[in-house]
């Protein structure tokens, strides 16, 4: 164990003992050395004195060479027992006398030595001159003394020293024990206190130390430090607890906020909010209320699991409403957080209600978005003063978050709805576009076919009308041709109806849905009653017609056809029987609309089918279906400016509703289906068309009617011919032009002619006639539009009309 590791009391003992031993050693050594030196000096002095006396006494003997006397003088040295030998040498240095007398001469130097003193190993040798007074030397005295005395003295000193050291050690040890206690004890108590502090964290210990020395001051400082540490520790603990509480709150807040954020509807949001509060904040009662528009009443929207029984006693369950009295709630509805630390004996009815179920302290936190309070969060505890300011702050923050989340949810809902609307609109636009393209295509095809069959139609009609001398078979063939061409024209017409806006030719008449429905039901009886019955299936058909429905303008036959189509589709969807319901009624909302609805309990449609079902040629019936039924219904709907709603889901049946604007909203155009006599006068007619077949057939047909016909096979030629004729003062009375021509089309021709002769009527002949009418593209210069293939009758009527107009004008 090194000195550093020794306990302090041992160190102290060692220090004291070592110091005292060292001091004693130094002191004693000094003392001994001093004493020895002194003693030696004494011995020297002694032997010198002895020597001098002896020398002095032996002068006579030496001077007068009396050896006996000399021996006698030396013999006097017996008195000094330490003198072990002595000798006198004469002037020449020869041994003259010795002591003791029996001492062998070899024990003495044979000749006199130099004067002086010297310590040899165990003896002191003194050599002195022998002379009388200051006179010449008579001889030499040699004295040898042993050092027994010196050694004896030395031993004595050592013994004394040893005794002194031993006693000193003893005393020092006792003293150190005493001092140890004085020094080490306070230090040990300090150490004990420090250990108690560091090991147990006990800052209340204090070092007992009444003294005023350094250790006591240290202890005092230690105590002071402990007091400070205790204080700081207390503060730290408080702070830590506060921070922990804050963290808990924050995490609770975050948890609640997240949980709320995951919910979309208010009631589940409030539910999770209050449940979390009950769990996390340990409230006894929690509920969320929504304010009504007047802010006079609150509706309970969410109640926590713990507070359900209380709420039941208070009659606050479910969607219970309660009035906002002039208590904290009204303040809360102004956006303030209200804390009622003790509601015992409260004056307001609502607080009394809360008190009755045992609540004592209540917090009302406003739920507000952009300073608009829309609800109140109520938290209660059964003890008075139950909420700290931190609790209140937490509830305030929480209510803000919750309100924000609720607002977000509302926004989210609105956004979702807007998105859905947008998606539907997009789908509808897409649908419309698709149909428009299809319609255009169909229109183009119709144009070409009409162009192609126009001469056939005209010639056949002309032949049958004029050639009286036809054979019976020729006439029969011609009639077959005419019927066939008629069929072709009808087919083309039907094809165009997939997408045909209502045109001027449509004969609108007041329509009563409740009149149409029984007609159609009767007409289709075979399909919905007889045929299924043969298969063993039963179709139960119901009609639910709202009496007194207003009429609307429309084409009854088309609506009838559409209804027939819808009924057939419904029957197809119910191969094993089912229920078919036909309803009519007044649709909610403005503008006022009536509806016709066909609902079945059939297989229904999936989303994709539902979206595409209105497209032409889209069918789910395989070979049996044409894919034109609903497309034609849709065409009718569009022509009537109506709407169609298709509701369906697989297995849930299909419900199709047609919505018609009631009469006043539909612009009525009266049909002018007058009888058309042939024009009486013979006209000069200019025909402009790029199709020679059409030109020829028209010219020949019109010439047969007695008109003078000039043909031009292009726009520019037509204009030139017209101007030329006008220049020759033989103007045309009417111009019939095709619309679609290369370079100069019908519109330009019409413009040029009207520019030259505004009175000259222009009849436009086109396969796109309906489109022109629908799109309001009829050029102002054009007086009449006729469709291809032109019926001879229609042509005559048009000529009559235009020229009559001119005449009447």
């Amino acid at each position: 164990m090194s000195f550093r590791d020794l306990p302090i009391r041992r160190k102290l003992a060692v220090v004291i003992l070592a110091v005292s031993a060292l001091m004693l050693l130094i002191t004693c050594s000094t003392f001994i050395v001093y004493e020895l030196l002194t003693f030696r000096q004494g011995m020297l002095t002694n032997i010198e004195t002895l020597g001098r006396v002896t020398a002095d006494n032996s002068t006579g003997a030496l001077a007068f060479e009396n050896a006996e006397d000399a021996a006698e003088v030396l013999g006097a040295l017996r008195a000094e027992r330490h003198v072990v030998a002595a000798a006198l040498y004469d002037r020449a240095g020869h041994l003259f006398a010795k002591y003791p007398a029996d001492l062998p001469a070899a024990a003495l130097p044979p000749a006199a030595e130099a004067d002086g003193y010297r310590f040899e190993q165990d003896r002191l040798v003194a050599v002195l001159p022998v002379q009388q007074g200051g006179n010449a030397r008579l001889g030499t005295l040699h004295i040898v003394s042993d050092l027994v005395a010196l050694y004896a003295r030395l031993r004595l000193y050592l013994e004394i020293t040893a005794t002194v050291i031993a006693i000193s050690f003893l005393l020092a040890f006792v003293l150190s024990r005493f001092l140890q206690r004085q020094i080490a004890q306070p230090i040990l108590s300090l150490a004990d206190a420090a250990r108690a502090v560091s090991e147990n964290g006990n800052y209340t210990v204090r070092v007992q130390n009444p003294g005023r020395d350094e250790v006591s001051r240290l202890a005092e400082a230690f105590n002071h430090m402990l007091a400070q540490i205790q204080q700081q520790h207390r503060e730290l603990s408080n702070n830590a607890a506060r921070v922990r509480e804050q963290l808990d709150r924050l995490s609770l807040l975050q948890r609640i906020t997240r949980a709320i954020g995951e919910r979309q509807d208010l009631s589940s949001m409030f539910q999770v909010l209050i449940r979390s509060l009950e769990d996390g904040l340990a409230i006894d009662f929690g509920c969320a209320c929504l304010s009504d528009a007047t802010r006079q009443r609150l509706a309970v929207t969410g109640i926590g699991a713990r507070g359900v029984s209380m709420a039941a006693k208070m009659e606050l369950t479910g969607d219970a409403m309660f009035a906002v009295d002039r208590n904290g709630l009204s303040q809360c509805l102004q956006g303030k957080l209200v804390y009622e630390p003790d509601i015992a004996g409260a004056a307001f009815p609502f607080l009394q209600r809360l008190e009755r179920v045992g609540l004592r302290s209540v917090v009302f936190a406003p739920l507000a978005v952009e300073s608009q309070v829309f609800g109140v969060l109520i938290a209660g505890r059964c003890v008075p003063q139950g909420f700290s300011s931190a609790d209140c702050e937490f509830l305030r923050q929480l209510s803000e978050h919750a309100a924000l989340a609720a607002h977000q949810a509302q926004l989210h809902g609105a956004l979702q709805k807007a998105y859905d609307d947008l998606r539907q609109t997009q789908q509808a636009v897409l649908q419309q576009e698709r149909l428009r393209v299809l319609g255009q295509m169909a229109s183009g095809i119709a144009h070409d076919i009409n162009n192609a069959i126009s001469p056939v139609m005209l010639y056949t009609e002309s032949l049958l009308e004029r050639e009286a001398g036809l054979s019976a078979s020729a006439r029969r063939y011609l009639e077959i041709i005419q019927r066939a061409v008629d069929d072709v024209a009808q087919t083309v017409l039907r094809m165009r109806e997939f997408y045909r806006p209502r045109d001027a030719e449509m004969a609108l008449a007041p329509v009563q849905l409740n009149r149409i429905v029984p007609q159609v039901v009767d007409l289709t009886r075979a399909r919905w009653h007889d045929i299924p019955q043969k298969r063993g299936a039963v179709i139960k058909l119901k009609t639910e017609l709202q009496p007194g429905l207003p009429g609307f303008m429309g084409v009854e036959s088309e609506i009838r056809e559409a209804l027939t189509n819808l009924i057939f589709n419904a029957l197809d969807a119910m191969p094993d029987g089912g229920e078919l319901t036909i309803r009519s009624g007044l649709h909610d909302g403005t503008p006022q609309r009536v509806y016709l609805e066909v609902a079945d309990s059939g297989v229904g449609m999936d989303e994709d089918t539902r979206r595409r079902c209105l497209e032409p040629f889209f069918t789910t019936k395989g070979e049996r279906g044409t894919g034109l039924g609903l497309a034609m219904v849709y065409g009718m709907v569009q022509r009537h400016s109506a709407e169609i709603e298709v509701h369906s889901a697989p297995g849930k049946g299909t419900r199709i509703r047609l919505l018609f604007l009631v009469a006043s909203q539909v612009a009525s155009t009266a049909g002018a289906g007058a009888d058309a006599p042939r024009p009486r006068q013979h006209l000069r007619i200019l025909i402009i068309d790029d199709d020679p077949l059409v030109i020829n057939s028209l010219r020949e047909t019109l010439e047969a009617d007695g008109h003078a016909v000039t043909a031009a096979d292009g726009g520019q030629q037509g204009i030139d011919a017209f101007l030329d004729a006008r220049g020759r003062n033989q103007p045309f009375s009417v111009v019939i032009t095709d619309l679609g021509m290369p370079y100069v089309d019908g519109r330009k021709v019409a413009q040029a002619i009207k520019a030259a002769a505004p009175d000259t009527p222009v009849i436009m002949l086109t396969g796109w006639g309906q489109r022109l009418v629908a799109d309001k593209e009829v050029p102002p210069e054009v007086d009449k539009v006729l469709n291809k293939p032109p019926r001879l009758q229609a042509l005559r009527e048009a000529l009559l009309e235009c020229c009559a107009e001119r005449v009447s004008r």
Binding site: D56, N57, T59, G60, A61, A63, F64, E65, N66, D69, Q132, G133, G134, N135, A136
Partner: protein
């Protein structure tokens, strides 16, 4: 080699310088004793003319020392005084003298001479027999080939001389009859 003649000369001179080999140690010793008496005897101050006055050793009668005495005192000083050796044939010639060796040649006139010296602070020394009986102060006698002292303290005291006790210790004390 020139060392040999030099060594021979030294030996010769030494041999010549000591006429009697047997007698030499005795008088050589006595010469030294005579000189050493100066150290052990204290004269009255009036015995010296001044502080630097030499201490005189006189030989009365035939000089038996054969130069040893001169050798003994040469270069020596006793109590800071130089030593001087004088020789007298008769007592009447005697001048300032501190130690007087009366040769045995003066045996006959010993008593008279000693009496004549009474009142003078002169240490009288002789190796003549019966010297102490005649009132001499220190007698030198040969025994066992050793020179022994016989001292008459009374005579010395009478001459106002103080003899050191150490001198007395190594001598045989005799009294005036």
């Amino acid at each position: 080699m020139q060392v040999l003649p030099l060594l021979c000369a030294a030996l010769l001179s030494a041999g010549l310088g000591r006429p009697c080999a047997a007698a030499a140690p005795e008088y050589q010793l006595k010469a030294i004793f005579l000189f050493r008496f100066a150290e052990f005897v204290e004269w009255p101050p009036q015995a010296f003319a001044d502080a630097q006055a030499p201490l005189t050793i006189c030989v009365l009668g035939e000089d038996p020392f054969d130069g040893y005495l001169d050798d003994a005192v040469r270069g020596e000083k006793v109590n800071d005084r130089p030593l001087e050796v004088r020789r007298y044939r008769e007592l009447g010639q005697l001048g300032a003298c501190h130690i007087l060796f009366i040769s045995s040649s003066e045996r006959e006139r010993m008593k008279r001479d000693l009496d004549a010296l009474k009142g003078r602070s002169v240490l009288t020394v002789s190796d003549s027999d019966g010297f102490d009986r005649d009132g001499g102060m220190i007698g030198l006698e040969l025994a066992d080939n050793k020179v022994r002292l016989e001292i008459n303290p009374d005579a010395a005291r009478a001459a106002d001389l103080k003899l050191s006790s150490k001198l007395l210790v190594s001598a045989r004390i005799v009294g005036t009859p």
